[in-house]
């Protein structure tokens, strides 16, 4: 390596010219001779020292030569550790060969650094020097040397230092040096050394690093101190960030309260803050953020200490007080959020804080102050930070959510002191007021002040947006809060204004929200953010809350508005760039309605499912949600919670936060599941086992399965018929057996019908038979009588019969399942037909239009020219159309044929079911007879036959259900037929028209 480097260097020198080359060689020679002199044991220390200073004076020409023989220097230092001069010059020499020049590529310097690091004994010498000497210059130059090493290769240096046991202690010794210059240099060394290496961080903590650093901070005057204090805070932050052990240690050693003075500000600081103090406060807030990091085991305990030593109050003061710097205010607010996050105690304490206003001496709660900041601050970062506090305050804290929800009340007239909820609601509908006010009095001249209006709205939009966020936090994940908010009244109609109009209900927040959403339809130029925010609130509100869904359906226009909005084609103008988002959210709202509908509300459920399946189409429904998921805004928010940002240019309103993306994806997943069940009629009425059998088939390939249906059904039919025959046979056999049994019984024991025989049998002879019997029989083995063996045989046969019956019933069950499967497939087919019919009707409509156009053209032509030529031209045109029509008609006929074949299939299936049902009934009857007989003859198997009866009843009810479904299917089929005939009629009229 060094040779290669040497070659490189020589070549570089050669390029510089002959002169450069000779000088280079000369110096290389002399560097080597000087190094040889150092290596020579014969020479005195003074001579060696002289050689070192000569080497230093050679400058960069000796870098490589010295670098290749570093151990020579360190050994000299080791041997003469009491020679201060020599030590100093040696360290300076070593520093010079690794000190990088910012302009050059510094290959040699970096290589020298590596050479030094690779030999562990080099470090031992350096730290030994530190331990032995207290000379100012030596210690200072060691600091510089270490700093340079760390700058070049900090990770390898960290590792070498870890491998050298006492090194960290030696460096801590530098930190304790009473000379400020050395201490300050050591701080710089530590800044690099403590970066990202947890083991070094721990050793520094063990060696009392926290205490030393906090002592320095105290000596330097806390927040009044300068850059040194800031360096200490930075190192503390390095030591603590992500290091659970150090955080525990820091807390256990009582270091957290010692941070408080760093956040203290005087009244004069409020207006103007020195740069140093500004950065000290900012980095202390960073440090506190490290202590209350998310997903860190020690965070709860740290949060507790922070509030116990009243540091939280200091931070509230920084965030909500009169600090002139919005950076400090914002960061303090953000930090406050993290301090109360997931910590009920701190949340309670924060909500109890009140702030005294110096203007009127009144005190208002910190939460109210926070609301005002959220709504009225001009600074977006500050608004965002305030929203962050609300988020931490409300998330997972139902008590707080309920409390906030309860503050939403109609404002008392003339009262300016609004509650938090009133402030939020006012901001939420501020845009509406400004637009309606302008549009209602002068609808004739709307263009005059739209520009100014828009400007107004734009100013307000941030306040609106963040108030909507707080409403979302208030609603999220709390059924109680959702229901409480449902009761929230926002307006009481003024009795004077609407005098005589009868009883007017007070307007609830939900009604107001829906009304506002409906109103957006009429306003083309409305900010898309408004729609997005309102829809987000609605989608969250509906979540897991059937009562809210019920409230939604109270007004019939709501649903149609949602559906219309989803069906609206997306225009690709720039102004509507957020259309995709809006439609995705509308779809999510519809999905939420479907998902959270009260289970008993079948009418609305059917309505919704037909809307999704027929009017929107399940695929396009899912697609609209997926499109939203693919937008940049969504994928960006998906990445996770954003850390606090102070850069102004990066701050903008984020459409979605991380939590909302999770929420939204959850809806998507549920919709996907919903889709698999949606195609089937009346989910829930069918046994779950049947559902699980059918769902994969229908979900995987509904269109491709259609041609396969006739095959399957034929096969099934055959299969079923076969089975039925088998069943019949079995039943016959069973009947025969039973008759035989009865005869036997009659012959042998005429008097055993009494339920409780007087003589209790001796169990011994019956024992083997009892074992063979199924459980229900073993419960009543007492009624054995003379001659026991025969009866035993009969009983056994009986139970066998019952078992067989049960098996038969199970088989029937299976058949039913297969049938229902086939039915759902048929239904799919019908759906498909539906779509095709729609297409056809569309085509016919188009044709109609064309025809009308042609007619008009013809008329015009006839009016303009009455010559025959032109007429023939026109007829030519119409001829073309006639062909098209013919083709269409042919198509229609084809479809008709298909429809008929489908109908036939359905009928076949129906027949099959009927016959099966008849068979089944016969079976049931025969079984009942058997059961009766068996229950009347021996009282033993009553309980199993009961079970069988139950099963039978079940089967029967299922069959009845199937029949009902079937009839509904037939109805559908009829409807389709109607359609088809209508189409034909239309077609024929069209034809007639054309003929004319």
């Amino acid at each position: 390596m060094s040779q290669w480097l040497g070659g490189l260097l020589n070549r570089a020198a050669a390029a510089g010219g002959l002169d450069g080359r000779s000088r280079q060689q000369e110096s290389e020679v002399s560097a080597d001779t000087l190094l040889d002199r150092i290596a020579n044991d014969q020479l005195s220390v003074d001579d060696k020292q002289h050689a070192i200073s000569q080497l230093t004076s050679l400058g960069k020409h000796m870098y490589q030569a010295v670098g290749s023989r570093i151990p020579l220097i360190t050994k000299l230092m080791q041997a003469n550790s009491n020679n201060i001069e020599l030590l100093r010059e040696s360290i300076e020499l070593l520093t010079s060969i690794i000190l990088c020049n910012p302009v050059n590529d510094n290959i040699i310097q970096i290589h020298n650094t590596e050479l030094f690091i690779n030999d562990k004994s080099n470090f031992a010498v350096i730290f030994n020097v530190l331990n032995l000497t207290s000379d100012h210059y030596v210690r200072y130059s060691v600091c510089t040397f270490l700093k340079t090493l760390l700058t070049n290769r900090f990770e390898s240096v960290q590792e070498s230092i870890l491998a050298c046991p006492m090194s960290v202690t030696s460096i801590m010794g530098l930190l304790k040096d009473s000379r400020e210059v050395i201490r300050n240099e050591a701080l710089l060394v530590l800044t690099d050394l403590t970066k990202s290496n947890q083991e070094i961080q721990k050793i520094i903590a063990f060696d009392g690093g926290f205490e030393i650093l906090q002592d320095i901070i105290r000596i330097e005057g806390q927040s009044e101190g300068g850059i040194v204090v800031n360096d200490c805070i930075t190192i503390l932050n390095n030591l603590l960030k992500g290091n659970v052990l150090n955080q525990n240690f820091f807390r256990e050693m009582g270091c957290i309260p010692k941070l408080a003075p760093l956040l203290q500000v005087q009244n004069t600081d409020m207006w103007i803050l020195s740069d140093n103090k500004f950065s000290i406060i900012m980095s202390t807030l960073d440090l506190i953020l490290s202590l209350v990091e998310r997903n860190n085991l020690s965070t709860p305990a740290n949060q507790q200490q922070i509030s116990h030593c009243s540091m939280m109050n200091l931070i509230i003061r920084l965030g909500l007080g009169k600090m002139s710097s919005q950076f400090i205010r914002s960061k303090a607010l953000y930090t406050l959020g993290e301090i109360i996050n997931m910590n009920p105690e701190n949340i309670a304490e924060f909500s109890a804080v009140s702030i005294k206003s110096e203007l009127n001496g009144q005190s208002q709660s910190a939460l109210l102050k926070l609301t005002l900041v959220l709504l009225h601050s001009k600074d977006l970062i500050e608004k965002q930070s305030a929203a962050h506090v609300f988020k931490c305050y409300l998330t997972g804290n139902e008590e707080a959510q309920m409390a906030l929800a309860s503050t939403i009340t109609p404002p008392a007239p003339g009262d300016d002191d609004l509650s938090i909820g009133q402030h939020l609601v006012r901001a939420l509908f501020s845009w509406e007021m400004s637009t309606t006010q302008s549009s209602t009095p002068s609808p004739a001249s709307p263009t005059a002040n739209t520009a100014s209006l828009l400007a107004n709205m734009r100013i307000d939009i941030n306040g609106f947006w963040y108030s909507s966020m707080v409403i979302i936090y208030t609603l999220r994940d709390s059924t109680h809060a959702k229901e409480q908010m449902l009761k929230a009244v926002v307006e009481i109609p003024k009795s004077t204004a609407t005098a005589g109009s009868g009883e007017q209900q007070p307007l609830t927040l939900f009604q107001k929200l829906m009304a506002a959403l409906l109103a957006t339809k009429k306003q083309q130029d409305i900010d898309p953010l408004i729609k997005i925010a309102l829809l987000k609130i609605l989608s969250i509100w509906l979540d897991k809350s059937p009562r809210v869904v019920t409230e939604f359906f109270k007004n019939g226009s709501h649903l149609s508005f949602i559906v219309e909005s989803i069906l609206q084609p997306i225009t690709s103008t720039a102004a509507n760039s957020l259309q995709v988002h809006i439609q995705g959210l509308f779809t999510a709202v519809l999905a939420q309605l479907m998902l959270n509908l009260d289970e008993n509300n079948i009418a609305d459920r059917n309505n919704l499912s037909s809307i999704i399946n027929h009017r929107i189409g399940l695929n396009s429904f899912k697609e609209k949600m997926d499109t939203l998921r693919k937008t940049d805004q969504f994928t960006h928010a998906e990445q996770g919670e954003e850390p606090f940002q102070t850069a102004l240019d990066k701050i903008s309103i984020q459409l979605f936060d991380f939590d909302y993306t999770i929420f939204f994806k959850d809806i998507c997943d549920k919709v996907r599941l919903l889709g698999t069940n949606m195609n089937k009629p009346r989910p829930g009425t069918r046994p779950s086992s049947a559902q699980s059998v059918t769902s994969p088939n229908t979900a995987s390939s509904p269109p491709s399965s259609s041609p396969a249906v006739p095959h399957i059904s034929k096969e099934q039919q055959q299969h079923l018929e076969n089975e039925n025959a088998l069943l019949k046979k079995k039943i016959e056999e069973m009947e025969l057996q039973h008759q035989q049994q009865q005869q036997q019984q009659k012959l042998s024991t005429p008097g055993n019908q009494s339920p409780l025989p007087p003589v209790v049998s001796i169990p011994t002879p019956t024992a083997p038979a009892v074992v063979a019997q199924p459980e229900p029989v073993t419960v009543t083995p007492v009624q054995q009588q003379q001659p026991t063996t025969e009866i035993n045989n009969q009983n056994q046969e009986n139970t066998q019969l019952i078992n067989e019956l049960q098996m038969l019933i199970e088989e029937k069950d299976k058949e039913n399942r297969i049938l229902s499967e086939a039915m759902s497939k048929l239904e799919d087919l019908i759906l498909e037909k539906d779509d095709k019919l729609e297409e056809l009707s569309n085509q016919i409509w188009l044709l109609n239009q064309q025809l009308q156009q042609e007619k008009q053209q013809n008329e015009q032509l006839q009016l303009a020219q009455s010559s025959q030529n032109n007429n023939s031209m026109a007829s030519n045109d119409s001829n073309v159309d006639i062909f098209e029509l013919m083709r269409l008609r042919q198509e229609n006929v084809d479809y008709d044929a298909k429809l008929k074949s489908f109908e036939k299939q359905v009928n076949d299936q129906h027949h099959l079911i009927q016959t099966l049902k008849a068979d089944n009934q016969q079976l049931i009857l025969s079984k009942e007879e058997i059961v009766k007989k068996s229950s009347s003859s021996p009282p033993v198997p009553t309980s199993p036959s009961n079970v069988n009866n139950l099963v039978l009843a079940k089967v029967e009810s299922e069959l009845a259900e199937l029949k009902i479904k079937y009839s509904s299917l037939q109805k559908d089929q009829d409807e389709i037929m109607d359609w088809a005939t209508k189409l034909e009629v239309e077609n024929s009229t069209l034809k007639a028209q054309l003929g004319k």
Partner: protein
């Protein structure tokens, strides 16, 4: 606050129950399945000796070989060491000689405890010091550590030998007498403990603290030198710093 602060380290082979001992002492609970300690862990507890509040700052080191180079950074600054072996695993007892090496052993040349002959000249002249080598890696570590060995531990470190897992009497592989003998020969305090049942755990930590306290009374330490792992409690005026609330709970602005 506290009158004194003592720093402890817990050392010994991997799996002998070091972390469990710490957890039992600080949290008074037993966790049968414990993650492998990486590097070091930390725990603290207040105790009282002679009616004086004493804070114990305990550093639990990783027993694994690969962490030795890191854990030895913790030796010098400690006032007490808990040297732990597992009474059900003979090898952990045998390794004690590698954890603990006494200069006088070299002179006595006791067969069982002497370091290998070829390294004898390298053993530094310290009254009592620790090396962090296990039998298998002895050669490598001896060669590496000789130069700075003298700095590894302070000569006044109080060491307690702990035979852990005393609840597993039926699996015992090292007798009480053997442990006691080893301790006596090396001038250590000795106790058998069970981190599971908490038997003798309190005593192990407190007896060590008592011993250190005695040494302080005798004047064996220079209290100001923090390399001994002992710190005097802060004067009361310093403690105040964070205690005085700068703002009231209500009306903080």
């Amino acid at each position: 606050m506290y009158a004194f602060l003592f720093k402890y380290i817990i050392i010994g082979d991997t799996g002998v129950g070091k972390s469990c001992l710490l957890l039992q002492f600080t949290d008074k609970r037993f966790q049968p399945v414990h993650d492998l300690t990486i590097g070091v862990e930390f725990g603290a507890r207040m105790i009282s000796i002679d009616n004086k509040p004493i804070k114990l700052q305990i550093w639990d080191t990783a027993g694994q070989e690969s962490f030795r180079s890191i854990t030895r950074s913790y030796y010098r600054g400690s006032a007490g060491a808990l040297l732990v072996y597992d009474i059900t695993r003979r090898e952990t007892f045998n390794h004690l000689t590698c954890w603990l090496s006494k200069y006088k052993r070299k002179q006595n040349n006791t067969l069982q405890l002497a370091p290998p002959q070829n390294h004898d000249n390298c053993v530094p002249h310290s009254n009592l010091h620790l090396t962090w080598i296990s039998a298998q890696c002895q050669m490598r570590f001896w060669a590496d550590d000789v130069d700075d060995a003298r700095a590894f531990a302070n000569s006044n470190m109080t060491i307690i030998l702990i035979g852990n897992k005393s609840d597993l009497e039926q699996k015992r592989a090292v007798s009480y007498e053997e442990g006691a003998k080893f301790a006596e020969e090396n001038g250590l305090i000795f106790l058998e403990t069970s981190a599971k049942t908490a038997a003798n755990v309190e005593e192990a930590f407190i007896n060590t603290a008592k011993k250190i306290y005695e040494k302080i009374q005798k004047g064996d330490f220079d209290i100001k030198d923090e390399t001994f792992g002992i710190k005097l409690g802060q004067p009361s005026n310093k403690v105040e710093i964070g205690a005085a609330p700068p703002a009231q709970k209500s009306g903080c602005c």
